[in-house]
Symmetry: C2
Subunit: 133 residues, 2 copies
DNA sequence: AGTGGATATTACGTTAACGTCAACGTAAGC
DNA sequence: GCTTACGTTGACGTTAACGTAATATCCACT
């Protein structure tokens, strides 16, 4: 059981960036704006698997067209921390708003997929018509 | 049957913008970059229902996080126009790539919705626990 | 004739999300 | 001791997608 290939618990900046498909500049930028806060060994950044998870969430947000600020808010939703009742309520509101946006997106994607299917069919049709004669 | 409230075939810029939730500046910007090309009555822009449809497609793209250039490409897919075989083939490729992106988005949305559900449940839980004692 | 409202053009300003140097430190290997 | 690779901190540049005046025109009222 020893020496089993376990997932590493620490990452250098280049490793993290390579596996995530971003540049180091981007990772540092995310740190500048407080989206990531890796620990340091001397000057050098050391990323934990928690940092890696945060980054993954950020990138998922980007794929959905969210701004970094949006992603920050959503990620913050995951750890309410402050157990103030008002905050919790407004948090629930925010969650429901996000859900509405996502449902709208689901709808949009469905329609766009339909459109694409039609376009593709038309293309293939045109190709066949051209090919025969 | 006369005088039935038919959808208007022409729109002023303010009407179009109001119903679409954008500013006139935005509409003019889309024209600047060639995304819209309304006809003119003198100097004044006149938008057809085709223009309106294009705008709707652009806005749908925005909701999905697409850039205006992306939207332009997708919209152009709808009217192949040039029936060159190579173009059709690369168009089909583009369509398939788009479809992959959309499927990824579907996946992301599903996961994000799950996360949000959990967060909301945790919030409600926290509220109840605080409320009781 | 004057006023108000919608339209137009021109042009500079702004924000987000990085890109792109420059200049430097440090540890590894030959 | 020199190169190579990876790391650091500035700091200015860039692109997209508009915002924000400033100024001018045209048409309908009063």
């Amino acid at each position: 059981m020893r020496n089993r290939a376990t997932a590493p618990a620490e990452f250098s900046i280049t490793d993290l960036c390579k596996e995530s498909g971003i540049t180091t500049r981007t990772a540092r930028h995310y740190e500048d704006i407080g989206l990531l806060s890796p620990s340091r060994r001397g000057q050098t950044r050391v990323y934990s698997s928690a940092d890696r998870t945060r980054l993954r969430l950020i990138l998922r947000g980007k794929r959905l067209g969210l701004s970094l600020e949006d992603s920050r808010q959503i990620i913050d939703m995951y750890e309410p921390g402050k157990t103030n009742v008002d905050q919790l309520n407004s948090l629930i509101d925010a969650i429901r708003q996000q859900r509405e946006k996502l449902n709208q997106q689901l709808d949009d994607i469905g329609n766009l997929l339909k459109d694409l299917n039609q376009s593709e069919a038309a293309c293939i049709d045109a190709l066949n018509t051209t090919g025969d004669s």
